[in-house]
Amino acid sequence: MDIDLIIESISVLARGVFLTLSLTLLSLVISFILSVPLSLLRASPNRAFAGSVLAYTYVFRGTPLLVQLFLVYYGLSQLAVVRQSILWPLLREPFWCALATFSLNSTAYTTEVFRAGILAVPRGIVEAAQALGLSRLMQIRLITFPLAFRAVLPSYANEVIGMVKASSLASTVTLLEITGLARRMVSETFAPYEVFLAAGILYLLLNFIVSAFFRMLEIHFAQSSTGNSKNAAAGSITSRLRHLRRAMGDGQANPYETGQPTIHPPVIKKGKSANV
């Protein structure tokens, strides 16, 4: 083991971090945008919609990402239609091919993750939203999706980490991201241990940041007053109590004036046991 070489490789491979990150983040953004409507269709009671989305996710989740990548990068050029289309300048480039494949693949996984979350939203909450007269779009935007997203946050974090790792496949279509640079460096230096160790450190660092970010997000959601139904109930009671206490402390304001149902403050007897 050559420590200097490891440090040198890290500084060389760090140039690939940008490509790894841009591939990962762009495909995550695209897949997030695509999979929200798809997961709603997948969870809808309509058999035709749900079935066609299932066919898409089944095929993309059932075949290796490498095959999908080669199918797009090498396979599409066989079709004359693709070669003559306006997208050809894009589909000729390995970057856009990799981005398209990763996005499609990630959409399939994310759709299934979100679907599980949507199905986990309690029926009563959706019915309550309907009873309040919210439109379908508002129900999804305000009720279904925020609750579903919180429920599946850990699975979504796994999907994001999976995407960071999957971006290493871009090296097979000549892209020089972390793994691609590492492979080139190994063939130049013949020092596989040091170079791959450096690449591994970079990937671990990226994934550590991702998982720390999602852990923070989870804590943030859990602490916000609408974290889940139990917290929401607790939040409203505490705010009501605070309101009451303020009213009592002021000594003048009457809590009944607000017109909201309030509860009497419990009478606490200190140091005495009334029941004995």
Partner: protein, 219 residues
């Protein structure tokens, strides 16, 4: 075209063999690591945690490359001659290490779901440790672990395609060679996807059947 059908059949055999061997060895490794992680020894728990955290954070492709090039470098250094390590062996070793890390996490959760009283009852009946594990803990934890284990197996089948990068002639490699020589990449890669889809569908169906078989009615 017929010769390629035969080659695809060979590739299919290699893919299946690779998945089965690395899956079996990986399961054993995972079970071992899960038991080690649950043991009361601080240091073994730490080592197990380090192994699963690191391996689950690294891309599978990188692990395969490390094992292949690292193994070749090690053998070359040992013997003094340039010897390329067998791609199948490297693939089995790499996939086993990755599969074992994920397995260990699944098995650890499943072992913890078996009530402590089962172990104590078995011990009070005078069973030896290996008997306790084989006849009491394993059958009960498998029921809990099976759904996650099935998913893991399917991702292992898909990950075998990465071993084609180091030159193993599995389905993926056959498709790559065929696509190059026949100048029909679309056909060959679609064929490869169909084969992989068949494998994963078959795995999915078998795990469904297995899950239903070992289910306790009313649970």
């Amino acid at each position: 075209m017929l010769s390629f059908a035969l080659q695809f059949l060979n590739g299919l055999q290699i893919t299946v063999a690779l998945a089965l061997v690395s899956g079996m060895l990986g399961s054993l490794l995972g079970l071992f690591v899960a038991i080690v992680k649950l043991s009361k020894l601080r240091i073994s728990g730490f080592l197990g945690q380090a192994y699963t955290t690191i391996m689950r954070g690294l891309p599978e492709l990188l692990v395969i490359l490390v094992v292949y090039f690292g193994g070749t470098a090690a053998i070359t250094a040992l013997t003094g001659r340039y010897i390329e390590i067998n791609a199948f062996a490297a693939g089995v070793a790499a996939l086993m290490i990755v599969f074992g890390a994920y397995c260990a996490e699944i098995f650890r959760g499943a072992i913890m779901s078996v009530p402590q009283g089962q172990m104590e009852a078995a011990r009070s009946l005078g069973l030896k440790p290996w008997q306790i594990w084989l006849f009491v803990i394993l059958p009960q934890m498998m029921r809990v672990a099976l759904p996650a284990y099935g998913n893991l197996w399917i991702s292992l089948v898909k990950d075998t395609s990465l071993v084609s990068v180091i030159g193993l002639t599995d389905i993926m490699r056959v498709a790559f060679i065929g696509a190059g020589s026949m100048r029909a990449p679309l056909t060959f890669y679609l064929m490869a996807s169909a084969l992989y889809l068949a494998l994963t569908s078959l795995s999915l169906a078998s795990f469904r059947v297995l899950e239903r078989r070992i289910q306790i009615p009313g649970h």
